[in-house]
């Protein structure tokens, strides 16, 4: 049985990638995650300059909700070189964010220089003004960012899109020059504590991730896989091997896992991998390509 998979020109030993923003600011942490069974890690989204991110509280948790407003805290692309150094020889996908084509292409080139096997454009963070969501909802800007980055780097370029939209196909088409689409980022959401009578997150709004958003994530992967011919990486609410299979049947080439780590720990990658192998054995599936997109109608 073969759980390996290809995303554009990248070959992965299994479809399980660490999602951006979760345990991936620190080189040693990312190394641990890969040693725990992930086939690759996506770094925290890195910008041109250091950002402290928002004041605490930056997360709110009440299963099945997980809302975060970390605020793109990151050390800046230059300082990040030292973390990338720790990861030489490992499968690292560099996530980057910026305000326009110049930022993104500069950051992408840096990531390539640092040894990233691919670059993931964060076009979709829902809670930071001027980045992410605001970019993601402007198809022309998305198109020019993707084109510009593609023209500047040799490594594959993934575009991570926002689920806070009414027309994912329009968005996806704007990003069609990317080597793969990553769906989805978090849903803009919030929590008010009724006893404190105020929003919990210092930023008020945050991004909903985890279990609650899986049906939305699967739908985006399905919709895009059905309408377009482009590799898709599925993200959102994956907690079990069943969830991974669901995304793959919806058309995903691979998946990213984030929030689930807080309940299941880093062991989740091995656990899910074993689950997938068992499922394949029971159902006499030799390779994931047999079931990829099989639910598409």
């Amino acid at each position: 049985m073969d759980v390996s998979c290809n995303v554009s020109s990248i070959k992965l030993k299994n479809p399980l990638i660490l999602a951006s923003g979760i345990l991936d600011e620190n080189g040693y942490t990312m190394k641990k995650i890969i040693e725990s069974g992930a086939s690759a890690v996506v770094t925290k989204s890195i910008g041109i300059e250091e950002r402290k991110g928002f004041e605490t509280p930056v997360i709110y948790e009440e299963y099945p909700y997980f809302i975060n407003a970390i605020g793109l805290s990151n050390p800046g692309i230059d300082a990040f070189a030292s973390e990338m150094n720790i990861l030489k020889g490992y499968n690292v996908i560099g996530s980057i964010f910026g305000t326009g084509p110049e930022d993104f292409s500069y950051l992408a080139m840096k990531m390539q220089e640092y040894g990233a096997i691919a670059v993931e454009l964060n076009l979709s963070c829902p809670h930071v003004k001027g980045f992410g969501l605001e970019i993601g909802s402007d198809p022309d800007l998305v198109e020019s960012i993707v084109s510009e980055v593609k023209s500047k780097v040799r490594i594959p370029v993934f575009a991570k899109l926002s689920p806070n939209t009414h027309d994912i196909i329009e968005e996806a088409k704007a990003a069609r020059k990317a080597d793969a689409l990553v769906l989805i980022n978090t849903l803009k959401a919030m929590k008010i504590d009724i006893n404190a009578r105020m929003p919990v997150l210092s930023n008020i709004y945050g991004g909903l991730s985890g279990k609650s958003i899986k049906p939305v994530g699967v739908r985006y992967v399905y919709e895009v896989s059905k309408e377009m011919n482009i590799p898709v990486i599925g993200v959102g609410g994956i907690e079990s091997y069943e969830d991974v299979i669901e995304y793959i049947m919806a058309g995903a080439s691979a998946v990213e896992i984030g929030t689930a780590i807080y309940r299941h720990g880093k062991g989740i990658f091995k656990e899910i991998n074993n689950g997938i192998l068992n499922f394949m054995k029971e159902n006499k599936i030799e390779s994931l390509s047999e079931i990829r997109g099989c639910a598409l109608r």
Partner: protein, 227 residues
């Protein structure tokens, strides 16, 4: 595992010294010495604080530095204390003799460990920084930077005079430099020791990477580590 934000009513706010307060609150979760909670001061922020009492009532002891801390030490009896947790692992509980080594507010997390079977070495800047005076009475060896209490010097100066083999466990908490010096001092001695580390913590649930040391998350795999 459910760590949603909760609140408890404050029973008492005891001033330990100028800017250090112990706040007792009425909560019935289970916790062990060494564990911490994330305290939310609405409008001001959220900070990790060790439980300085783990029984009933529970307490936190805070040395106020930043905005949430300043706000917190002014909380009154009957106010709501918002928090989530408890988080992290805990000190090993042993039956035998214990040596507790603390500096500054590091003593807070080890307060639940103090009993008739324990000796405390505490290092302070000056005599007036002392907290938990009553509990420490007759059990503590003090060192101060300015010599206003006990030995003038650092923990190591006190540690040198102690027979380490008398103890079944050594617990250490304080600034990282102090812990490093204790760690190095103990390295070639054949003793059991546990160190509680403090780093910036944002999520406390092991996903934001802000508290990581060598790929280990202090919030979930720590804060207590063995030598």
């Amino acid at each position: 595992m459910c760590f949603k934000m909760r609140y408890s009513y404050i029973i008492e706010n005891v001033m330990e010294n100028e800017n250090t307060h112990t706040i007792f609150f009425d909560a019935d979760f289970n916790a062990l010495p060494g564990q911490f909670i994330m305290v939310w001061v609405p409008g001001y922020g959220e900070i990790p604080l060790s439980l300085s009492c783990t029984g009933k009532p529970k307490a936190i002891t805070i040395k106020a530095y930043n905005e949430p801390g300043m706000k917190l030490i002014n909380y009154k009896k009957g106010d709501k204390l918002f928090y989530r947790g408890p988080y992290g692992n805990h000190f090993s509980l042993v039956d035998g003799k214990k040596l507790i080594i603390a500096a500054g507010s590091g003593i807070a997390s080890m307060h639940p460990l103090i009993d008739d079977n324990s000796i405390i070495i505490e290092s302070l800047k000056r005599a007036s920084d002392i907290i938990f005076e009553k509990e420490l009475k007759g059990r503590a060896i003090f060192t101060t930077d300015d010599g206003t209490l006990g030995i003038k010097g650092h923990v190591i100066d006190a540690l040198k005079n102690v027979n380490l083999n008398d103890f079944d466990m050594i617990y250490v908490c304080g600034p990282e430099l102090m812990m490093k010096s204790v760690f190095d001092f103990l390295k070639d001695k054949n003793v059991r020791a546990e160190f509680s580390l403090e780093r910036e913590m944002k999520c406390a649930v092991g996903i934001c990477d802000s508290c990581s040391v060598s790929g280990i998350q202090l919030c979930t795999e720590g804060p207590v580590f063995t030598n």
